[in-house]
């Protein structure tokens, strides 16, 4: 039985004590089969290698190796590039279009989710691939927006490609693989361990032309991605947020440190030097250029509408501001909601 060299590389990557950097050192000088027999020796049977290889081919997991023609151009002269990358979907998507990473906190506000989805959709429509980590929160929202149409989305994940993580994003994971590609440094069967996330963030930055942080706490995980991007001289942008929101502390600090402000997809296109490219339709919610719905005119509804703000306000606060009793207030809010002028977020109301 003859196995391709990739099979030995996959088997080496599957050895628990061999991490990405050890693997890179091992494969720097030797061919994978030679490295395999040198490190694992006679105890590593060919049958074991074949079993791992079969599992990957059965699952449809592609293998990219440094030095091969299919190796993504973006990783060619990356200082910390991995030796092997696994992928689900079309790996050519990695080099097809300019790429922008949209990253952020896993517990975002409605604002953050909205902005991430809008930026994702606008960038994809403008022919820019959205790179993200498929995590809960901002990452997921960005890809939800980007999966619609346009440039192929790129998901960069930490664990093995056979086990979607987080589970809640299984469907999104499949859609990204279908329209674009999901890549990982971990072979199938590897659990998503904690140390793999910062490592993943390095690959995520390496695959991106620009990194944009949508919403991030002071010590959020996005910091790793930003550090990796700055080490590579990749431009970093941040979406400004409320100074009162803990989830915008990180992004506001980035802006203070010199990240370029991102208020719409156009700002990112400028950073990509694509400003002359076919510009996407101005994103309404991000630009504030939304067609204004006529404000309600009747007395109570108008009073309630005026008391609402773009930030969620509690019913107590609204009752205090308007001086209305609860049935009248709730009735007015429901009417505003029906007219698309107010929205309820779990008992808190905001202007739509």
């Amino acid at each position: 039985m003859t196995l391709p060299e990739e099979a030995y590389a996959v088997a080496l990557a599957s050895v628990p004590s061999i991490g990405p950097s050890t693997l890179r050192d091992l494969l720097a000088d030797d061919a994978p089969s030679a490295a395999w027999s040198r490190t694992v020796g006679a105890s590593g049977s060919v049958r074991h290698v074949a079993r791992i290889w079969e599992r990957h081919t059965e699952l449809g997991i592609g293998v990219l190796m440094a030095g091969h023609p299919s190796w993504p151009a973006r990783l060619l002269d990356d200082p910390g590039a991995p030796a092997i990358v696994f992928c689900l979907g079309d790996p050519r998507a990695l080099d097809r279009a300019p790429t922008v990473a949209l990253v952020g906190t896993r517990s975002p506000t409605r604002y953050g989710i909205g902005v991430a989805a809008q930026l994702g959709a606008d960038l994809a429509a403008a022919g820019v691939s959205v790179v993200s980590g498929l995590a809960l929160g901002i990452d997921g929202a960005a890809h939800e927006g980007a999966c619609g149409a346009g440039a192929p989305p790129i998901g960069v994940v930490a664990g093995g490609l056979d086990d979607p993580y987080p589970r809640r994003h299984t469907r999104l994971w499949e859609r990204v693989a279908e329209h674009g590609v999901v890549v990982s440094e971990s072979p199938a069967g590897v659990r998503t361990e904690k140390w793999r996330f910062p490592v993943r963030n390095r690959l995520l930055a390496a695959l991106s032309d620009v990194v944009v942080v949508v919403e991030s706490r002071h010590h959020g995980g996005s910091r790793h991605t930003v550090d990796a991007a700055m080490a590579r001289g990749i431009a970093v942008g941040a979406v400004p947020g409320s100074i009162r929101s803990a989830t915008s502390e990180g992004t506001n600090a980035l802006l203070a440190d010199g990240a370029f402000p991102v208020c719409c997809a156009g700002d990112i296109l400028v950073a990509l030097s694509l400003a002359g490219a076919p510009a996407p339709a101005p994103s309404p919610s991000v630009h504030g250029a939304r067609p204004q719905r006529p404000a309600p005119v009747t007395g109570e509804d108008r009073r309630v509408y005026d008391a609402l703000s773009p930030d969620p306000t509690s019913l107590d606060e609204l009752a205090r501001l308007t001086g209305l009793d609860l049935p009248s207030l709730c009735g007015a809010l429901e009417r505003l909601a029906r007219a698309g002028q107010a929205v309820d977020t779990g008992g808190w109301w905001q202007r739509e």
Partner: protein, 490 residues
């Protein structure tokens, strides 16, 4: 010589008649008690002997056998001390058997001969009717609540012996129960702001809707909950007797030693065990917190911290208004028709209601939410999100509406609901209100059960407003009074 004295023992909230037979004969001096006594009853031997000697009565140096009939039923508690002692007095000829005819005895003896309080006096008084009842002086008033005049109190064994011998009259009957003094309940006027919280309390009280409050620490959840009992109408005479009987059986002290006339408020700590909540124990079967809260309010603060088993045990009482406690020795059914008020934080850090302020991980939040099962959450008609009150409102010093004013509206709404014939299908909704509910159902924002609950709450809101048909605004309010579900349902 043989004597038979009537008494009773407590099981659950009911008394069972017991006949205490005492036999004194020649033989080796000794004292045995038979008839399935528990440890407390067996220890009566030492208490009775010491009480005899302290009271100047002679202790028979003969063989004493005491049987508690019916022999097949277990008997517990120290309340059988007194009938055993009286039985001995009769059996030894110290007291004429005729003087105990038509009398039953319940009471615990101290070593100095004094008579002490026994729990469950109301149930015991019921079980010993129609005989006259002799009880410790301190319990005479409680027993008289259900028995009236034929209850005698006695301070100690020596006095009782003199009365039974005809050497002294019965001690003065205890003074009749005073008119209930105005109970001290916390007033809603102390709460500043919190329009939604206040309204939720009012609706909960008027429609008997269970209420869950979700808010950060310091938003006044506990303060509000403590004021709910004050909004409920006073107990009816039947309810009062049931509530008093349960408290008496649980050994709780009664307000002013008389009947409860205000709904009870019970707030067990979140480390409460299942047994302490639903009732139980080996076989005396003490009522639990859910029964002590019957006709009143059960407040579970920090709902998410209660043991899951304890919360799930609440489902039967919430559904049926009773709790059945089964043990090897039998099953007891306790009343448990309470109004449930619970409070919890939106997430472990408590800041989850404020967007962007929560520092919990998504996993921690999901785990916290899972502690409240969907079936339990479904029992809450009202789930309100609370936020910290506005500082200006807090410091303004303007008192809120008082409990008395709200209670008047609650009573009127209840009367209105009671007078209305049960509608065949749902409450009478205005067309636009009906359309609002329909659109919520179609958009998936409401389940079928949710729709039913919202229309029930809207009905209560309309009753509070004194209106026959439910309006659009009232349905909108009912919807917002369960908006907090979004915080606990992911």
């Amino acid at each position: 010589m043989l004597a038979a004295i009537a008494s009773a023992t407590l099981r659950g909230t009911m008394g069972s008649p017991v006949s205490v037979e005492v036999h004194v004969s020649t033989g080796l001096p000794g004292f045995t008690i038979v008839g399935l006594p528990d440890a407390a009853v067996r220890e009566a031997r030492d208490r009775v002997r010491a009480a005899f000697l302290s009271s100047g009565l002679s202790w028979p140096m003969r063989r004493i056998t005491c049987n508690l009939a019916p022999s097949g039923m277990r008997k517990g508690g120290a309340g059988l001390d007194l009938p055993i002692a009286v039985g001995l007095l009769v059996a030894t000829g110290e007291v004429d058997a005729a003087s105990t005819q038509g009398l039953a005895f319940c009471g615990e003896l101290g070593l100095n001969g004094s008579l002490r309080h026994v729990p469950g006096m109301i149930a015991l008084a019921d079980a010993t009717a129609p005989r006259g009842l002799v009880v410790p002086l301190c319990d005479a008033r409680e027993a008289a609540l259900v028995r009236g005049g034929d209850v005698h109190g006695a301070a100690n064994l020596g006095d009782l012996a003199r009365v039974l011998r005809g050497q002294a009259p019965w001690p003065e009957p205890p003074p009749p129960s005073r008119a209930p003094s105005s109970a001290h309940e916390p007033d809603l006027a102390d709460v500043r702001g919190q329009a939604v919280g206040r309204r939720a309390l009012e609706v909960a009280a008027a429609g008997r809707h269970h209420l869950l409050m979700i808010g950060p620490p310091g938003s006044g959840k506990t303060m509000l909950a403590e004021r709910l009992a004050g909004l409920l109408p006073p107990l009816t005479p039947d309810e009062a007797l049931t509530v008093t009987r349960i408290h008496s059986a649980a050994g709780c002290s009664l307000p002013d030693g008389t009947l409860f006339h205000r709904p009870p408020f019970r707030a067990p700590h979140h480390q409460a065990s299942v047994v302490s909540l639903v009732g139980g124990g080996s076989w005396s079967l003490r009522p639990g917190e859910v029964s002590l809260a019957t006709s009143g309010v059960l407040f579970l603060d920090e709902l998410g911290e209660f043991p899951v088993a304890a919360l799930e045990a609440l489902r039967q009482p919430l559904e049926e208004g009773v709790i059945r406690v089964s043990r090897a020795g039998g099953t007891v059914t306790f009343p448990a028709a309470f109004l449930l008020v619970a409070a919890m934080n939106p997430c472990p850090c408590g800041e989850g209601v404020y967007e962007g302020a929560c520092t919990c991980s998504a996993v921690a939040r999901a785990r916290y939410r899972r502690r409240i099962s969907a079936p339990l959450l479904d029992r809450f008609d009202l789930v309100v999100p609370l936020s910290r009150p506005d500082p200006d409102e807090l410091l303004s010093g303007v008192p809120g509406e008082s409990s008395t004013a709200v209670a008047v509206r609650v009573a009127a709404a209840r009367a209105r609901a009671a007078a209305r014939p049960v509608p065949e299908r749902g409450p009478d909704l205005a067309p636009d209100a009906d359309a609002l509910l329909g659109s919520k159902l179609r958009s998936g924002a409401l389940s079928a059960r949710g729709l039913h609950k919202v229309s029930q709450v809207a009905r209560t809101v309309a009753d509070l407003a004194g209106e026959d048909a439910v309006s659009f605004a009232q349905v909108a309010e009912a919807l917002s009074l369960r908006a907090g579900r979004a915080a606990v349902v992911s």
